[in-house]
Amino acid sequence: MKNPSVDTHLLPADSGTIGTEPLLAVDNLHVEFGTRAGVVRAVNGVSYALNAGETLAVLGESGSGKSVTAQAIMGILDMPPARIPKGEIRFRGTDLLQLSESQRSQIRGQQIAMIFQDALSALNPVFTVGWQIAEMFRVHKGMSKKASYAKAVELMDRVRIPAAKQRVNDYPHQFSGGMRQRIMIAMSIALDPDLLIADEPTTALDVTVQAQIMELLAELQRESNMGLILITHDLGVVADVADKIAVMYGGRIVENAPVHDIYRNAAHPYTKGLLDSIPRVDMKGQELYAIKGLPPNLLDMPTGCAFHPRCPFRQDNCVTDVPPLHEISGTRSSACHYWREVLDGTAG
């Protein structure tokens, strides 16, 4: 898929394959927002890594920091109010946070691209979709208007928008929700990025359309060996497409694991609670398991483990000591003091 002659990689093209450096490595990232009510610590030491061709699902509820992490990787946080006091985001071995704004905007779109949840508000309503897709080629590649439009039609075909040639001059409101999301995807893959971040790409869509979009993403990923970060709260979508999962709670990663391990046996009480609260066929007529209480207030985080007020297995030291991310195996870790007991089912 990749055409090296037009690829203007800012970074050495194959630095990603040197040694064991993954495509993307987020390391101990902190993001905070200065607000009138105080400092909101949205991300408190998040680390994850992703290789080319891999799909990482970041799972979490609203306020868990999953989208803020993605925006920090993409470099689209408004600073201020946002601040990144600590951490590294290494893309092919280079720390993005050390780059200048002009260097970052070279990477943005060309090497790292993003799809947003609500395609209607992410697209500009007063320009045609063709103009918006073609803009990627005009701005980043300096193509002529005509050539960029031809490219736009090609891309619309590739994301399977019917009658692309006729529809290239339509406006976003003339498309259905699923088609708009396809246009967003067309824009994001326009420059063959190495990393695609999809922030709740199907949350606003119906299930049959969701299935179409997820299939399209998987296909594009196979074709170009992209790394995909899928941000979602849907445990079903994650089980369908992810290779590995990072579960976030209160701005931290609480569990990191390959997808099969986590669904077989969770190593953190929060993950376990989420999985147990899915309605299952054999549970019909019984009460669903519910995690009690509410997600934490980011302005007033609980001491110790952020999950302790809701945790059924809480012990005294959970209230005082912040649990580190314990390594369970080479690929798996859990931020629970009692991960062994949670895994064995002997906790509490």
């Binding site: 609203s62 299930v207 299935a211 299939e215 079903g236 979508v237 089980a239």
Partner: protein, 338 residues
């Protein structure tokens, strides 16, 4: 809960067309959005009927028609054997005491300038016979306790509560007049995953306690399966399949139901490579101009000539044990197939 005795709600051939007009001074009708186009079903005491379908299939319009918030173009709704006359105020008032609604979005369905006590107590202002004035505050506090909120928070405002708590306030308001039927329009879809289970458990507990009948509208099929006794699948304003939960989920016979069920992601990665997936092509057609004959035929892989000519009726067909609106209805278990 097995349906027993007379149905508490009878819906027959309910139709709602929204006119499409052209011209500013002289409006003429140039067509109609056929939002709900001939829907019939019964609901029994203490029963839950799940309604599933994609956006635009008419499930929310159906909810509004049941609440008499919209006047039907034709068709009838009977509650306890009595016809609901939407043109007669006294009749409507009596009817509305018996059927209440829980809305989707707890952030916009509660007035931010009213206290929780005023919101839950407002139904008593209209139906003064349910609670005498001096008794209302105590009743509201009772309701708060029933839905699991602190009765001392009666003077707080909606913004002081979280999403799940606000949905509880909405449920308490729905319970205030002791209705027999509650229409829940996507009651958990705006809530966080860890909170959804809490609200579903509450709805089930209230049903057992007060013998409520629910119309449960949602797009999350696993939630619908958990709570429903019977399920209706809608497509473009019509019910395409209706039956007991096991009949719909284990033995679906309409191609649309099968596609819908197979599209739902299963929260278990085991065997995900071999799972059967029916990916439908395209989007649902516009309800302003639905296809002739069977409305699903434009996306259906079984479609033949007869489907374009003759509209399939919702009836029990050879080889199935429940009603299905497909000429070629055939039981096919998509969920458990591998």
């Amino acid at each position: 809960m097995a349906p027993q005795g007379e149905p508490i709600l009878e819906v027959r051939d309910l139709v709602k067309h929204f006119p499409l007009t052209q011209g500013i001074v002289l409006k003429r009708q140039v067509g109609a959005i056929k939002a709900v186009d001939g829907v019939s079903f019964d609901l029994h005491r203490g029963e839950t009927l799940g309604v599933v379908g994609e956006s635009g299939c008419g499930k929310s319009t159906l909810a509004k028609l049941l609440m008499a918030l919209e006047k039907p173009t034709s068709g009838s709704v009977k509650v306890n054997g009595e016809m609901v006359d939407v043109h007669k105020g006294s009749n409507l008032k009596k009817f509305r005491r018996n059927i209440q609604m829980v809305m989707q979005d707890p952030y916009t369905s509660l007035n931010p300038r009213m206290t929780v006590g005023d919101i839950i107590g407002e139904p008593y202002e209209i139906h003064t016979e349910v609670a005498p004035k001096g008794d209302r505050r105590r009743k509201v506090q009772e309701l708060l306790e029933v839905v699991g909120l602190n009765p001392d928070h009666i003077n707080r405002y909606p913004h002081q509560f979280s999403g799940g708590q606000r949905q509880r306030i909405g449920i308490a308001r729905g319970l205030a007049l002791q209705p027999e039927i509650i229409v829940c329009d996507e009651p958990v879809s705006a809530l966080d995953v860890s909170i959804q289970a809490q609200v579903i458990n509450l709805l089930e507990r209230l049903q057992n306690e007060f013998g409520l009948a629910y119309i449960f509208i949602a797009h999350d099929l696993s939630v619908v399966r958990h709570i429903s006794d019977r399920v209706a699948v809608m497509y473009l304003g019509k019910i395409v399949e209706i039956g007991k939960d096991t009949e719909i989920y284990d033995r679906p016979s309409h191609p649309y139901t099968q596609a819908l069920l197979s599209a739902v992601p299963v929260p278990d990665p085991e065997g995900r490579e071999t799972r059967e997936r029916i990916i439908l092509q395209g989007d649902p057609p516009s309800p302003a101009n639905p296809p002739s004959g069977c409305r699903f035929r434009t996306r259906c892989w079984k479609a033949q000539e007869i489907c374009a000519v003759e509209e399939p009726l919702l009836q029990i067909r050879p080889g199935t044990d429940h009603e299905s609106a497909c000429h070629f209805a055939e039981v096919h278990d998509v969920v458990h197939a591998s």
